[in-house]
């Protein structure tokens, strides 16, 4: 029975994902997504990595961009599809079950903007460097990479404090919604290594959350 109940709870988890994330990030994620989406212009072609239930995808689509959202979790995408149907935005959005390792299939220099909310931190070191290489390839010269993610504080004191404050929040969120997030270390440095020009870094005071605007070198074609 233990297994049965656990599976039942876990399988209905995608429906509670958004709520879980909201608890875990204390609502700051929505504001971060809005700030990032402000860089997206009408008519642009956007790729949303790890779109999940489509929170960031939705904001991009509302600004009149054509968005392709990819994620490996079909149940999350199902929730996303329902959401876009309700919003009447289906013609602006394409959701595909696809992992970052399958970006090979995307044409070079075909996207104006690539967005990623809480996705890069989910990747292993190998996957992250592969993904950044692929994103450089598929972005148009001058194209933007917009990232919002949990970060690992660089200041050791803040790191300890963050761990202490975060731990109960992680437990509560997991119990209620079976959702959790991970953090990534020195994302700006990794983007620079991949050849991006990091234009803006907005870090929370605790250094546990980071928003990044990075540009692929070259003249924008638009």
């Amino acid at each position: 029975m233990s297994t049965y109940i656990l599976m039942k709870v876990l399988e209905s988890a995608p429906r509670r994902y958004d709520r879980g994330i909201r608890i875990l990030t204390c609502g700051k994620l929505d504001r971060a997504y809005e700030r990032l989406a402000a860089y997206i212009k009408r008519g642009q072609l956007v790729l949303d990595l790890g779109c999940g239930t489509g929170a960031l995808t939705l904001m991009a689509a509302r600004r009149g961009a054509h968005v392709k959202g990819i994620d490996v979790n079909p149940q999350m995408l199902e929730v996303g599809r329902e959401r876009f149907q309700k919003e009447g935005l289906t013609e602006y959005v394409e959701l595909a079950e696809m992992g970052v390792a399958e970006l090979e299939a995307e044409r070079s220099a075909s996207y104006d903007v690539v967005t990623s909310g809480l996705c890069l931190s989910e990747l292993s070191a190998d996957e992250l460097s592969y993904t950044l290489r692929e994103v450089v390839r598929i972005l148009r010269p001058g194209g933007l990479l917009l990232v919002a993610d949990e970060a690992r504080p660089r200041n050791i004191l803040k790191r300890v404090l963050n761990g202490l404050l975060r731990f109960p929040l992680v437990v509560i969120t997991y119990v209620i919604t079976q959702t959790t997030t991970r953090s990534v270390e020195d994302l700006p440095g990794k983007l620079r290594d991949a050849g991006f020009i990091v234009e803006r870094v907005r870090s929370s005071w605790m250094e546990n959350f980071v928003e990044l605007i990075a540009r692929k070198s070259g003249r924008s074609g638009v």
Binding site: E11, M98, A101, A105, S124, D126, E127, Y130
Partner: protein
Amino acid sequence: MDGEFCRINCEEKRKERRINLLAYAAVNVFETLLRVVPFPCRTGVIKIGAPDKSSPVFLTGNYHLTVVRVSRALRDIDCYLLVANSRGYNVWCGAAGGHFTDHDVISVLKTSGVESLVTHRDVVLPQLAATGVEAGVIRKKAGWRVIWGPVYARDIPVFITSGFEKTAATRQVDFALGQRVEMACMWAFPFSVIAALATALFWLRIVLPLTVLIWALSSLVFLSFPLYSSWLRPGKGGTAFSKYTVVFDFSRVLIILWSVFILGLIIFYLFADGLGRWSIFRWGLVSFIIVLLLSIDLKGSTPVYKSGLHADIFLTVFLDKERCRGAGFCEQVCPRNCYRVARAKHTATLVGSRRCVQCGACIVQCPFDALYFTGPRGEILSPATIRKFKLNLLGERVAGVGRNSPRRRR
């Protein structure tokens, strides 16, 4: 001088091997006791021995104990071992529960750098991943050919020397004594710890007998498995088709366990001094709860016998002779040896459908969609449905069958 050097060298090697063995044993004991918890480990490529551009490539999930065991089984082979992200679950549970998917396999093939290490594009996957990882998709999206390896890593050396061919024995999942002991330990340890912690505060005296009881009962249930396994078949006909009747239908297994419990109670009564009626009732109730929990746990999805937890047991696998071209993937992935493939005649036959545990691996892998499940009223569950829902504990893949079948709706 040379001899002296060799002697020291050999001794050091022997010492090193002893330490390795000790560490291996310690990891095995520790992680077996805590097997109910996922133990994720690093994903990526592991080099074993001195592999070159043509060395074989093996792949497994990132459950730490699995990686430790597979690495040990491969220690005399020059090869690469890819560790894919199965979220810290073992291969079977990961694949059957949708945590170990095509995406995870493609990801490690593409991002680990293995493509620059070898010139060939053949990867050996554990057979039990076949319920969740589709060979055709890996081929199409990543350009790698999947070879289904043996069920157990210990059979890999023989698998290689026989030219990557499996025998009926290395395709079959057995539930051998060693595995049953592991299962008993992985069950008894966490439950006895939880029970001890819960009772220690207010009733210290009960902790020891309770712990002994949990260990004894779980050993009894798992060790005596061969004695009652033949009863683990669903009843013939007349079975109500609802998720809940299946969940609460404990069938005959429980009756056997129940009588064992009665027997234990009598033994307890005979040997324990001054045992009142009240304490017999109390211990009876406690052991009944333990047996109940165990028997429900035993009914989960396994590659050994039919699960009693969901309506999948009412499905029958059907082979469409018209579509079958004898590719033989069904034979390669079936953990119950239900298929016989005539390579020369290009046909497969379903020789052991009674043994089928409805894992669906054959249906997922068939390149011609020649296999599908049929429900008790002749409903067809398409290969697409099986691929989408895999082996789902909640029975989502049969959701359409039970609820919407014409006779039920009324």
